[in-house]
Amino acid sequence: MSALDIKGLVQPDRVHRAVYTDPAIFELEMERLFARAWLLVGHESQLPGPGDYFTTRMGREPVIVARHTDGTIHVLVNRCAHRGARVCDAARGTARLLVCPYHGWSYATDGRLASVPFPEGYDGLPASGLGRVPRLASYRGFLFASLAADGPSVDQFLGPLRTSFDDFVERAPAGEVEVGGGVFKHVYRGNWKLVWENLNDGVHPAFVHASSIWAAREQPPVNGGYAEIAIRQMLQNGAPPEVWEHTGLWVTPYGHSYMGDYHDDSRLVPGMNHPAFAEYRAALARRLGDEGASRVLGELRWNSIVYPSCSFMSQFRQLRILQPLAVDRTAVHAYSFRLKGAPEQMFRDTIAFANVVNGTGSPVLTDDLEIYERAQQALATASTEWISIGRGRAGDVPDREGMHRGGPGTSEIYIRNQLVAWVEYMTTET
């Protein structure tokens, strides 16, 4: 597929259906996009001590992320150098050596080959050990890896989106966050781009989530307690059009975006009026001062998307990592974070919010997944070639630090921006 062919699939106000349905394009994405871009693999708190590891995928590549005895972190291909069997089967664990179940080859947690049973039978042993993912970098505890040896630094790659991670971490009274509370793993029968094209879309909630909005509105008010966070979030999806039009939508180079000026804790959770929130704010002020606490809590940022691997939001400490499985199948793993130094009630709010927004049985998420699948099914039809990405295009304006901003908050600027980055990756040959 030539660069010209690929460029022709994305036009200023429309995109060709093949971008979502063509298996050859998906294979090229694995090679040119997922094997090049910085992908979020996890968070340092998942590896508190030496020998701790977890397994995940980078694109479709199975990898082990491990902390070695000297404290350094390594991203290793989860495939034995001998006969190719998967070395680590568990989602997480602690080990001095990673031992292949097939013929007992063992590896240190930095990937070096440690020992081989019956070594005399082999005609020269490989010195390299487990395959090594060439680049790993941390930004404020978030671990990014790249399967490409060369490319922009993580700082360059993230650019202005670093402020979203700053916002995420600064909210912790102790200045640190940690993964906790279990991981949702949901899959849908659709292309991986569909979830990123939906997340910062301010028009879809009123339609996709009409049934949960209505069901929540019909419910007698619940004050406090577990249900309140869930019901408030369902109601929030039914916010009037002005709210969505006035939401801020920023996009950055490399396809990233974030939604800002959205809504604040006082509207969404028992929040400002909750004793736990007052205690939390006081703890934050002890580190940052009163003004600092106000500044941090005044940041009204909602979803940030780091293209093509993750999205996160600070107000309820949620992170989603995407794993493309096939052109028409995608997995999303959703993590929750604890604000170190905050009252435990804040984490309970996080869990309640996770259940309603990222839960596999959520009244909200299940309707999103249904729509992704319907889109995928209909995009398979050949008679109509193009879909529209032109909403709000006339209003796209340059903004600070090389960003652009959507005129109205319902602009599809973030989709156009993702596809600009997509073309750039896809037309750059290795």
Binding site: G180, G181, G182, V183, F184, K185, H186, V187, Y188, R189, F207, V208, A210, S211, S212, W214, A215, A216, E218, Q219, P220, V222, G225, Y226, A227, A230, I231, M234, A331, S336, E344, F347, R348, I351, A352, A354, N355, N358, G359, T360, G361, P363, L365, T366, D367, L369, E370, I371, E373, R374
Partner: protein, 169 residues
Amino acid sequence: MATRTRGASTARSLAPMAEVERLLLREAALLDDGRLDEWLALYTEDAIYWVPLEPGQADPLTTVSLIHDDRALLEVRVRQFKHPRAHARTPIPRTVHQIGNVELREDDGRELRVTSTLVMVEYRSERQRVWGARVEHRLRREANGLRIAAKRVDLVNSESELEGIVALF
């Protein structure tokens, strides 16, 4: 339904078992018929309906759950099926709930703890799924008989990568 009772099968322990079995069968039948309002009426006003994420999960408040509904959220969940644009719920999944291995574990006079196994076949939108679960009911004696105060459904594949869950177990 295959039934076992723990310990001596005295007349005293058999009597509640018959009532317990009737309730579990009725719950299954109402779900399979899509009669969700009547299903919800089987639950107490303070009921909890819980499908944990992790095997042996101890706590629904500090670990996420596939579903964790109190009575208010359960009412929202049931109501959602009635909306004309409930995209993932129209049509409602067709199910068969097969209940077995019912055991009465505890009976303190006010509440009974009952365990069972569930095999549920679900069909919707050209897709059939089979679920297996260990189930625990906490049943409360009320004026008009037993009602469900809590239901916990431990799916055998709760931690795997799952497509969206719409059907009720």
